[in-house]
Structures are given as structure tokens and as C-alpha cells.
Subunit: 425 residues, 2 copies
Amino acid sequence: MNAVMKTDIDALMRDMGRRARAAARVLALATPEQKSKALHTAAEAIRAAEGAILGANATDLAQARGNGAPDAYLDRLALTPARIAEIAGSVAMVAALPDPVGAVMSEWTRPNGLKLQRVRTPLGVIGVIFESRPNVTADAAALCLKSGNAVILRTGSDALASALAIHAAMVSGLATTGLPADAVQLVPVKDRDAVGAMLSGLDGNIDVIVPRGGKSLVARVQAEARVPVFAHLDGNNHVYVHEKADLAKAERVLLNSKMRRTGVCGAAETLLIDQKIAGQALKPLTTALLGAGCAVRGDAAFQAVDPRVSAATPEDWDTEFLDAVIAAKVVADLDEAIAHIERHGSHHTDAIVTEDPAAAETFLAQVDSAIVLHNASTQFADGGEFGFGAEIGIATGRMHARGPVGVEQLTTFKYRGRGNGTVRP
Amino acid sequence: MNAVMKTDIDALMRDMGRRARAAARVLALATPEQKSKALHTAAEAIRAAEGAILGANATDLAQARGNGAPDAYLDRLALTPARIAEIAGSVAMVAALPDPVGAVMSEWTRPNGLKLQRVRTPLGVIGVIFESRPNVTADAAALCLKSGNAVILRTGSDALASALAIHAAMVSGLATTGLPADAVQLVPVKDRDAVGAMLSGLDGNIDVIVPRGGKSLVARVQAEARVPVFAHLDGNNHVYVHEKADLAKAERVLLNSKMRRTGVCGAAETLLIDQKIAGQALKPLTTALLGAGCAVRGDAAFQAVDPRVSAATPEDWDTEFLDAVIAAKVVADLDEAIAHIERHGSHHTDAIVTEDPAAAETFLAQVDSAIVLHNASTQFADGGEFGFGAEIGIATGRMHARGPVGVEQLTTFKYRGRGNGTVRP
């Protein structure tokens, strides 16, 4: 299929867009029961298709191995019966979430008797572009379907056979409830031109793009998309230990923020310590980090407390390490901490550790990040941890969705007004 | 100033963008009292500057008259002491609105004790591009400032002197409360390249563009903007008289929707009458429209009831007349009415007249417009009528803002989390 001409790809993609829009109109009117049943059936179908999915995955793995893909990459691509069960479980979990569509967000009555309601409605058609992680096919489709949106999925090409097998199982779930199969479409070819076509918006038939993957994918999508994008490029997150911090809490929050999992976007990447508590805090926190296996790149003060601390470079303040590495710096006060975060951060997730409520409130008010935390780990940056059930990603943009993007953030709203022959003077 | 080079305009605009971003950071932290006081002072300053504003307006009028502008255009451009008082009154009214920034939209506590809040924050920098209506300078600036956003205003060039005089008065209000003058900037040159620069987003320093004006302005902004746009291109609104309509209510709602003011975006442009009530409804509703001075362009059924009804052309179903003209058609049933609206409408405001609650609910659910109404006039499509106090416009897009865009819709949100050394397992 790789030899398909660009014009053919364009035609294929535009047709997918038209079909998605038509399906979205039907899906927007589906009942909560229909969507829930479709997803439960899809979860069952994924379990039942274990053999076919494993077979397709073996094809993907053999091809990737033949192309010399490294072991870590192959591990992310590989499916097992246990992983397939997890994928099905995630779909069933989304099926069980509250349905956001039709929820009344607010209602009020005007002095003239006009009753107004603001109610949630689906966004329309969502394009999801991801890398070669087979589980994303099911996760993203489930979240979009639950929120009443049609979805066009584009997998990394190394996972195409696996994604097609999972997609086929999911679509069988739609059929059982009379929902249109075109509500969940997967780009069936590997050509990269398909991504460009999606970024163009397919003649207005994609309302928003969600990229799921590494920085180069997100950067390309943000640079080229002609439609809104829900994404974050970086999670350059900070833990600031204020002068009034409880040091035991500081150590707990810091180690969890940095080391619980180093590869997630909520991981802390820079430690800031207030000058006034440096005498007590620098040594134990540095020792704790090093003891946990974290490399520390510090300023002169940090270097002075332990010879294993290396010198931080200017670039380190702007780096999302996604590894057991942290940049560390002493700041004069709360204002300098906030200024550092505003200058170097990525508006994702930042935390202050302090026992001083006023300092905490200032930090929470002034740090302009999607998630700001007081005495809590930055690794709470996650839709599941927020109670959203699941997320399609975390957004650092300011439009529409911000922070964890769950089913509610995949909706828009409209106003319903009810009168009794009510007219305007 | 019209001879300024394009490169100079670019540099000027990019500098305005940088200054707006810096001002937005300060403004986001301003207290409700500061913003309210700044706006009340600005309103006073506008009143006090009546002489200067009238003088500047005389310059604009003389130039426009010299360029052969028609009388209706000159009337919209002209200021009087009464109009200046109205402008000041609008600013004072916005000053008195509830401050949206910092409002807690929702809050909940997780099983691990983490307390989460979703709180409103400003969007950042808003670009407002409008035509030669001097009052928009003050209205738009007041709404942006109230919602904590910096604004870059671009007036139609025929009103530049008037806008500069109003802007100068407003900025003096900011100074009294220590808010940065750069929070409200007005493009000080007439060159059209300034608009192009704003649509490019000024190096990421404009977060959203709001066009205020006619269709050609909005179309250009929607086509060329590289940043989100809150706008509507058309208000091609429908009144559907269902088979179970109360005819007295139908006549009242129809006449108000069409004729209260014909030039507003909430005016009805097409009447749909259910076949099953056509025998009773067609004649009196047609007569009422004609009697009110409205031209009717109807299908064969409408033409048959009155010789003054002209034949509707296919284009009429897609036309926003903004005049005392209505297109009129008999439809077979509710489904055909909804299908007609989805095909020809502009997703702005549509109304059903019926005494059948089930039909009303189907219409309200299935018509995918920003505002859907039951037994109420489409002319309620207005932020003031919704109780929002004021609006910067009406949006028909699906992202972020939809329907009347008031101060709440000019905000975004962030999450605040408060723990007690809380970490993630």
C-alpha cells in the first residue's frame, strides 16, 4: 500500500472526513445506553479477537524487527494476552463512565420568563494521530465515542496491522447498537501524506486534532495543523521548596514527583529551593535524590553539598529530561521561584511545598500552568488521578481544553431556551 | 502615517504584541477592585473628554465625507454628546459585572485527600478587529479588561481619530489603579498590513481574535487567522411552525424574530411551516408578515395564498437578508424541518413554535445550533438578553466559546490541587 499516489491518499482521506462528519451527526444523537453498550460490546469483541490481534501484532513485530527496531521499541509494540485484556478492560472502564453529552452545565430563568440552559454537546470529529502503541487505538476510540464524537485514528505505521485488528473488533461493537461504523475509522495506509491531510482538517471535517506521542510528533502537529490541537509539547515541571516547607513532606513530594516514573509528562524536571531554607534542605534533599538513583545537575550551592552533583548548564533549566536527572537551583524567594517557572516552564504542572498558606495561595494564583499544586506530587497530572476516569492526553494550550483531557473536555455546549410565545421588546 | 513601510508596520505590531503579553501577565493578577475601579475611572474619563472626542470625530467625519461616504455610513460613524454618554455608560455597566477571574467552577476531593479546584483564569491577549464604529473601542476594551485580558484593538480606519480619543481616555483610567497602560492598546495607524500582522498572531502574543463587523471582515479573519477566532459569519436563522403550534404564539414569535430589528444577527431569515398546519397557518402568518412590511419569498404553497408573495429562489434558503425579507417554505414534518435547518442554516439561532413538548425536545436536541429556542423569538440571541451583561459578539464555532461571548467566555481555567505531602502510589 506504500506506493499509493498522493492524490489517491488525499481522496481517501477526504472521503474518510465526509463519512466521519455524517457519522458524527448520528452519534451526537445516540443515547447514553447505546454508546455504553457499543463500548462494552467492543471490549468483549477485543477479548474474543485475541488470536487475530496477536497474529497481526506478530506481523508488525517481525517487520519492525527486520527494520532493526531497538528492543525498547519492540516492547512497546508487542501485545500479549495480558495486554489485550488490559486494552479491553480500559474500553469497558470508559463505557462505565458518566455520559457527558446532554448534561446541563447551568440553567437560569430570565425576568421575562425565558428559561435558559447550557448543555453539553459533542465536538464533532476528532483526529487522533499517535505512534506505534497498539493500545491507543482502543483508548482513543473509546473516549471519543463516549463523548459522542466520531474519530479518525492514524496509528504509527509499525503498528498498523495490530491497530487494524483492534479496530475491526471495536467496529463490531458499534454494529450491535445500530451506531454507524464510520464513527470510528482508522487510516488504513502507512503513507505519511495521510498525516498532512488530517492536519489540513479534511475540508472542515476534523474539528480538533489530538496528537499522542513524543515531542517530534507533537511539534509537527502544532506547527502544521490548520485546526485546533489539544496537546502539550513539554512537561518541564517544577517542585519549589519554600522557606516554610516541612522537610519530610518536601522529600516525599520531591522524590515522588521526580522518581515515581521518570518517563511521564507529569514528572518533575527542576527543583527550586528557597535560599532561606537552603541550610537545612539542600543536603538532605540532594542526598535523597542521589540515593534514589537520580542524577543532580545543580548550581554552585548544590554542587557544594555533594561532589556527585554536576554543574547545571543554561539549557538544563529548559530541558524535559524524562529520565532520572533533575536540574536544581537555589532561588532568593517566592517571587524568584515564580519568575523562574514562568520563564523556563512549559505551563504543564508545578508544585510548591510549604506550610505557609499565604505563600501557597500566591504560588497557586501566579504560576500560569494548567495544573498548580500545593504539597502534592506533580505526578498527579493525570486524568485518572483527577477522577476523570481516563484521559486522551494533557493540554497546555489555553483554548477549550486545559490540563487532563477527559470525556467532558471532548465536548462543547449549546444553549437551549424555552419560552411561551416570549418575544423581545 | 499611511506611507509607513510594511516592515515598519510589522515591527510596530510585534512590539505591541510583546507589550500586550507583558501587560496580560500583570492584569491576570489584578484584583476585582482594581479592574472595576479602572473601568469606572475610564467611564468618567470618557465623559470628561467629550470635547476632545467630538473634535476627533469631526475630523473623521470630514474625511469620510470628503471620500464620498454615504449618509448611513456617516451616521454610524458620528458621535454626539448622547452617544458618548452611552459609551461611558456601557463601560460603567461592564465595570459593575461580576468578575469572572478566580471563580471556582467546580471543586472535589479525591479519595487520597487531594483537594482539586477548577478556577477561571484570563485567556491572555485578545485581538479585536472592527469597523468604523467608535463605540466598539470602549465596549471591547472594557469586556477584555474585566475578564483580565490584555487587548489589541484595530479600528476601521475611518474612525481612527475618534478611537484614539476614546482610547486615550480609557488608558487614563488604568493609570489610576496602577494597571499597565499596555493592557489596552489601539493600533495607531491606518495601514491594512496591521490587520494581517494581527491575524498572524504576533509571534504567539495574540491568543484569540474577535472580528466585529460585516461579513467580508469576518470572512477574511476566518480565512487568514493563524490563531483561534470567536465569530459568526452568518445568522441564517429559522422559525419553524410545528403542526401543534399555537397560532397566536407563532405569529408573535415570527414577527418579533423577523421584524423587531431586521439588521441584527439574531433576526430570522427563513420561515418553515409544517404541512399539517398549513391550511390554518399559511394565510394568517403570510398576511401578518406582509402587513408588517416584510417581503415574502415563498414556495408554491406560499405564493398560492397571496399574490404579493414572490417566488423563492434556491439561493434564498442560504441567504442572510438582514432586511425586511423572509424566505418561506412548507415542510412535510419535524424531520424535514430539522434537515432543512442543518443543510441551510448557519448554526446560529433557530426556533420551533409548538405546544407539543416531545416535538420541542426533539428540535432542541437535534438542531445543532449555538442557540435553539422553543416558543421564543430568535432575537433573544444576545449576551444582554442571556443575562451576561454584555457580549463581545456571538460565536458559531464549536471551540471554547459558543453563542453570546461575554466575560466568562473570555476566560480559560486552570486546576489547583492542595495536598498534605500527598504522593501518587
